[in-house]
Homo-oligomer: 223 residues x 2
DNA sequence: TGCGCATCGATTGTCGACTGTATACAAGCA
DNA sequence: TGCTTGTATACAGTCGACAATCGATGCGCA
């Protein structure tokens, strides 16, 4: 159940379903709505002072994103996270990034946009600001994908990134070495700049796999 | 617009939105609803003798599948196919299949389930049955993905396969050499059986790229 | 003539009420 | 006792009506 909340803000007069979807999505990927939490249309509608229709549609959007499970006529819930699904998510991520860097190096795209995100990560690490670090990390990787100039890939990535954010929000944050996280990225930029495909691929692959291992470890204690 | 149709069959008492979604999906991937065709909720609802709610939800499902475009308050339509989107779809397909075969060879999974689909393809080619050939081809590739034992990959594949089917349905069918299509597949099975990763990768990649080229060629004359 | 502006039609967006389905639990029966 | 059968409840699913939005059309006016 989502915490009690006042009336819904209709920013920019977006359709309500999108506002509601965003609210739920944020709650899920930030870990406030944990896997398994029941999502009940009527309850949500009442809390947000809207009818069930837009709530229902919002839930269906998140269903398509793979964040919510639908058990027909029984109920919906935040999709449970299993070790296997975490492994699958990270292994696909590895493929996507590998594909992206191959395209980037082939096309000779300018990789300088990555640098500012690296700086942001170090700044966040120095300030011990985990939220900012996660945001900068996400921005770095999304930019990497964007440089591949592949619309479908970017769409698929955005879906995947949601689930990765969810996983990261769920793991025990106290144990992360923030500067280490930031330090993982400059070598990728360097290797990209040097057009050293093999080295980039190896770094990216290692990056995904170590993240996967960390998450699997922490999900054991907090499933 | 979908052709006039009597009352909707509520097979197995599935929720209406799923029945409607299936109907629309089939129409799109079989090419009866061509890219750009407007999809109007009210009209569909009347044709199918249901209310707008399930129709609306069905449309949203296909929106998530990437088959339908939504221009808010203006209308929805079958998403137009551009050369770039075709290229993107096939290039992602290539990545997925490459990933799948790497996993298959690593895990040593039994690839014999592929053989029956190859047989089916040759039978269809001999009978000059294009529909059966396309079905067998789709089954072959889906099985290949399934053998990788990766749930998320299979989900992503199924979405992609829809759009590939749509593209294939839209291209001029008279010009295909059916036996040639079938003949492309046995070498893949052989190389898989021999665990020859490099050769499989090369074959699979070639397979995707030639399909992409053919489709791009035919989409020029019928966009 | 040409330009702003009310109006209208088409289409999606939202609502509240009704209906269908599944589960659990209690009541009836062999 | 153990099985079936009813019944209550908590949901999702569907419906018909109404509201909001956008684009086009046509009208008045300089």
């Amino acid at each position: 159940m989502v915490e009690p909340q006042a009336d819904i803000a209709r920013i920019e007069s977006l359709p309500l379903r999108l506002v509601v979807a965003d609210m739920l999505r944020t709650g899920i990927v930030e870990g406030r709505l944990r896997p398994g939490t029941p999502i009940v249309e009527a309850a949500l509608a009442e809390q947000l002072n809207v009818s069930r229709a837009p709530v229902r549609e919002a839930i269906q959007i998140l269903e398509a994103d793979g964040l919510i499970d639908n058990l027909p006529y029984k109920g919906k819930r935040v999709k449970p996270l299993t070790a296997k699904s975490v492994e699958e998510i990270y292994s696909i991520r590895e493929q996507f990034e590998a594909f992206a860097v191959r395209r980037i190096i082939e096309s000779g795209a300018d990789v300088s946009p990555l640098s500012e995100h690296v700086s942001a990560m170090f700044a966040a690490a120095d300030a011990a600001d985990l939220v900012a670090l996660i945001a900068a990390d996400a921005a770095f990787h999304r930019t990497l994908i964007r440089l591949a100039d592949h619309g479908l890939l970017l769409t698929l990535w955005d879906h995947l990134a949601l689930r990765i954010r969810q996983i990261m929000a769920l793991r025990n944050r106290a144990n992360a070495d923030l500067r280490q996280v930031a330090a993982n990225h400059p070598p990728i930029v360097e290797a990209l700049t040097a057009r050293d495909l093999d080295r980039v691929l190896s770094l990216v692959s290692q990056h995904s796999r170590s993240a996967s291992e960390i998450d699997l470890k922490w999900l054991e204690v907090a499933p």
